[in-house]
Subunit: 446 residues, 4 copies
């Protein structure tokens, strides 16, 4: 039986124990022979802690899985079968600024699809492109499974601006939606299937099936009273109006609140902000606690606290995907992949998040056709924002970044957009080499 | 030579003298034999004033153009060649509420594409459909030239929810943009051509030609310092940033400020609002003055004050279009017509505002292909809003109106959207028969 | 566990024992409670024979499956879960004429996509529409599984000219292609998956996977020497050139020989024709022998001779499909269903034959994108022919039938097309009520 | 006033005097300052004759138009405003083989869209690409106006396989169709406008307007009795059936006979062929006579005999186009240009022949939408053939050429396609450098 070599870029992440657990649980169907945890110099300490924990976990499980650890990506990549990417350029500090700078100017930062997410993309895309260059040399047949946010933006950039095709973006949100709906319906998750389509963090449940029979209407009704079941750890849990859901005719995801309940969300975030609270600082606390735990030489399991971190199911999602590719399973998973006409009104070649058949040859999206009208507009607008952001990430031009910023549906203002853009550029200078000249000019002006 | 019968629904409008002047000026190429001015009972007095003025104008011009006047549409329509519609269901009072109710809740009302425009559409579409029913009986070969705002929404409704195809929406904005660009370039308007595409009040100049040579870049540069030349009387004149224009790569229209300078516009509007000023009340003043003028039995010309009214070039636009259809001119005009794939990324059958070849058989849009990415997102979102609004206008369902409202890029909030929706429904009760039941429920609840 | 009621229209067909066997084999996963065999008066005798055989088969299997038999469709349909249609309007005699009349004029008749298939569609579509009318009354939630040829044309007509959506066309060819490729590769069929897309009897294998890994190139090479493995019983087995397959880059189906080896096929068919041999007369012989067998009161199994009949795997294909729908299996099968953008260059709403995910809610085609250029042209041309034929089948107009005939890639000639059209119209008069007037005129002229 | 430099590649062609006449007639609106006639060494004698005649014509007209003549293209191209290409790689001898070799095997050769046209493309595309390389160096802002057949194939190749965009293919056929329809209607050509769309020599008149009013139905009726008015000099004049035209609902062009009256055309061509007659040899005769005339030092006009040559209106078509570009006229002409979604069902970027607005910035096709179903199939098939041929022209691979050949709707046979392909490859060896290796292999085999 074929065994696999997996390389995890950003292996020092606090999420890694979930991934290890995922590989351990699935060892029989997906025998990972070597797992390489790779990180950068700044992550040396964390990587060490995680590596030690991973080895204890594998040992306890009694499996012949080798855990390697390296600060040099090129040493690790050779002949990898799967490369997972779970990195955070600039760390949680950068995220804190992605969120707080927009909020300071009265805007929702939104670390994935808002002004914050835009900057996360500007920092991340060049790094991903570097990784791809190494993969082309060292493991040209590998699949890159990207959990790095903003997963939609990163996938869009890779599929349309690089020559690497074996790239899939994953997110725990669709998995969470199916979990949530099964809770709402009070049935096991296995009996529920949602046909999902849209973009990352902008995905809609177009239909919901219980044992194959559509229960969309029932779910839309139940969501009103039980919407919290569908929520994400990291998104405020505001209820949806029954009339809105009925009119929309599709299951919104947690992140849709930023676009359809913008004022409501902003009010809460500003309140938290005024108290000095932010999701980023909250997460930093959790992280600290987690690593303390991880250090414990007696710990040989993923600790429960990790679920609070907000990334629950990421491991399941990624391991499921890797296993389905390895085994050519042909099951349906929701991934970020090339559209190829599956959503007919979106560009043929763009990245979409969509229910897809998973094969050894990659995901094949299910033909979904046109989106419901209530979903179409916001999805199209976000796709334009994504394309503009990718252009800016690669050109390093101020004008490209500015139009991307202003076009974001959470910004919509030249004046505020410029303030936020300039501050974020200055704040992230060291992670934005492509904007060096632009940032120097800004600095000279101010 | 063929002579024409024209019927103007809403003939008692203060704009009508421009139209009369337009027909007089073009009499040689477009001999209007009979012009019927039609209005409703509430407009009896205004209609009388306008009819008398029209007759004086025609007499002064020495032309054999008969001016008829009627309060009964069906008496007028028989065998018409062209029917123009310039009506305002609920009058300026309704408009005042379209604008003030959203503002009260911190939203831009925007009488064409915002919450206000949505309600104008809900009031207007059923009336336009009634007119179409009469036209089918009495003048099935007529062209309906619609100046009634929101022209994009009305055209969308007719082309996709009625069986009448000979319908064209016109707006003075594209004409004004060409005028403005010619002023910026300091050349005669005839030498300038803008390839325009998008939606009504959401149209972009994709390229600009001076004597056929593209001068888009020059115009985008000049717009920064001279943007006011491109402005509309009824849109606040805020300057555009040079970087934004460069990044966008297309000429925005005046109304784009609502979407790309939202905060800036809102601030100004709220200031005016706090002073009790509003565009609607301003217009009411102008109207009063105008009708006083019109009554003057010595007046036999369009008075200059009319230009302040904000509708300048409407007459030119409409008369040009009618003349080009009548004469199969084959010139290019920007109209609201069926897409037919001209903008490839928009639905095949939807209404678009686009540079079109004008023939006796109607407009043929120029193949425009995909929009620039910076334009695509907002155009798509507005088209979805239009489709949702048309659905609501015809269904009379609360949920449809609610989703349309929340999907509007100037609303984006369930909470505020609901407040605004409910108040507008109650305010416009008498003009929204399709929502009678919904409004009764609202009234009972409150 | 849910049990099912299945109604088979055309139950007196010689194929039926395969179907019975299919239901018997699958009883555990697909418990058919009642199977109704329905036929018309002309089939009374055959229906009687088949019903008796079916009962013997079920009895031998020891299953509680009731076999009913009726000459009145409406008596049978009430509350059916699945309706299968396997009828032949005009019987094998009509088929003989579909083939011989074109051949007489030097054309390949081709009983599915040629002039012959066109007439089969003209006779069949009105009958299928009648069945649908009954289903709407009596079993509105049933799935209609159509094995009636021409399956592509019939599905196109139903999906675009009726209001019945739960309709799937099946064909044994894709199953046969997978069987054939597995023989070529000398592996079990389960290990092979072909991604297929196109139209019925015009389907291409776009990629071939062995255990999930693409082996398309290997298969294209092997096909040259082993093409007969891929052949259909009823299509002449001519070899393909290696250069043609390489240039095409896709696996053609057996029927593609009619379009890419037209002269070669025609030569063989004319030779057979000159000897008085035809597929139809051959089949009539086989049928006679089969029914003699079926009468044997000792026979309680599907006799082996049935495989010679040419319809092998039809039963497997249909039973697999029904079982996957009933059980919401989510496996991939190749069916004729609505495109919904899956093949981006074909009309959104048209019927295509395509690899689809099978769910309780029907098939969801896999997003396939654009076809390879070498496949695109002929598929598009056949789709146009299908649309023209559907129009003619419903309008009964000579001009519509004439354009359909001339547009067929096996006809291409007004002169010969007219001769063949007129003779076929006259020959099939009694089965073409919609063309009554046209045929009378023809008769009067001649 | 701006004056122009025009370079005519293939200036020694017998057509050139028409072009000279065209420029002379239009001198006021289109002042050609320099006209460079360029040819290759083999055309030295003809070029000399034409140049002398051109100078006499210009002198007689009394215009300051310089006539230059060169055997070195690069000497001529510097700063050209317009480059016209009217070349024939291999001359009429090659054409004779393009026609006779297929006919020998029972196929219509068809020097534009058939097997013959395919080889004309294989010979011509590399030469056009060489010319483009020179233009990029020497006159990067020039428009290339290509009259070289097969104009559709050449335009497809340039627009999709080179980086030169300012390229327009012209054909005299659409002009001839408008002439023909005006004759049928017995009105002046100026009053007639046909909305045309399709591919070169595969273009359909989708609607016909007389003074702007649709007269399509009348024209389709009249065509039956007067079809010869619509014919081309070089296409056999067979009548169309009234029912076919009615069913088609569009005006076919003369060349459609090859696809809808294939047998009829083939019969005539084989008859001619058996008598040793062919269009190519006929043309060679006419050419000889023409050049005798041209030598006459007293001749200073285009001789009438030229019209018999079959290329009538080419000059008018090309000069009209050049003049409309130079003057930014904005009139409608039918040209081969990039689709850009104008015909929605054809690939976005492909070359189409379509009614277009002619501007200084190039043609803008009119949005045409979907083609009538009866036109769609054959247009799609020919477009696929064009794409396959372009691929082969650039790859020089046997398999690519073979699939292109077999996919041609006049071939449809591997066996005959191979015979014709191999003979044509061998016959044209010296003009097919990209196939050198392939041809050597063929030669070794035989």
């Amino acid at each position: 039986m074929k065994t696999y070599k997996v390389v995890t870029i950003g292996g020092g992440s606090s999420y890694t124990p979930e991934l290890i657990e995922g590989f351990i649980i699935r060892y029989e169907e997906l025998p990972v022979r070597e797992l390489w945890l790779v990180d950068i110099e700044e992550g040396r300490e964390k990587l060490k802690i995680i590596t030690a924990l991973a080895r204890r976990m594998v040992k306890k499980a009694g499996l012949p899985m080798e855990i390697h650890s390296s600060l040099n990506r090129r040493d690790a990549l050779k002949d990898a079968d799967f490369v997972t990417t779970q990195l955070r350029v600039g760390g949680l500090e950068a995220r804190a600024q992605d969120e707080s700078i927009p909020l300071k100017h009265g805007l929702i930062g939104q670390e994935t699809n808002g002004a914050g997410g835009m900057f996360k993309a500007l920092r991340t895309i060049p790094v991903i492109f570097d990784i791809i260059r190494d993969c082309k040399d060292l493991c040209p047949d590998a699949w890159i499974i990207n959990f790095t946010n903003p997963a939609g933006l990163v996938t869009e950039a890779v599929l349309n601006h690089s020559d690497w095709d074996r790239f899939i973006g994953v997110c725990n949100l669709p998995f969470g939606m199916e979990m949530g709906v099964s809770k709402i319906l009070e049935v096991e998750k296995e009996r529920v299937r949602i046909h999902m389509a849209g973009l990352n963090h902008m995905v809609f449940g177009l239909d919901v099936f219980l044992d194959g029979t559509s229960v969309k209407k029932e779910v839309l009704d139940l969501m009103v009273t039980r919407s919290s079941a569908l929520n994400m750890k990291n998104v405020m849990d505001l209820p949806w109006s029954p009339e809105f859901l009925k009119g929309l005719g599709a299951i919104p995801c947690a992140y849709h609140r930023y676009y359809f309940q913008k004022e409501e969300m902003l009010a809460h975030m500003l309140e938290d902000f005024s108290k000095g609270a932010s999701r980023a600082t909250e997460v930093m606390e959790v992280e600290k606690t987690l690593f303390e735990k991880y250090k414990d030489a007696n710990l040989a399991d993923k600790p429960e606290e990790l679920e609070k971190r907000g990334g629950a199911y990421y491991s399941d999602t990624a391991c499921n995907l890797i296993s389905s590719i390895a085994n050519d399973t042909g099951d349906i998973q929701v991934v970020n992949t090339r559209n190829k006409g599956a959503i007919s009104s979106l560009p043929y070649d763009c990245a979409v998040e969509i229910s897809s058949l998973i094969t050894k040859n990659g995901p094949i999206p299910l033909a979904t056709g046109v989106l419901p009208v209530g979903a179409e507009g916001i999805v199209q607008q976000l796709k334009s924002f994504e394309k503009l952001t990718c252009k800016a990430a690669l050109s390093g031009k101020y004008e490209d970044a500015f139009v991307a910023m202003v076009s974001n549906p959470l910004v919509q203002s030249e004046k505020i957009g410029r303030l936020v853009l300039d501050e974020l550029l200055l704040a992230h200078e060291s992670y934005l080499p492509q904007f060096r000249e632009v940032i120097e000019n800004l600095r000279n002006k101010s």
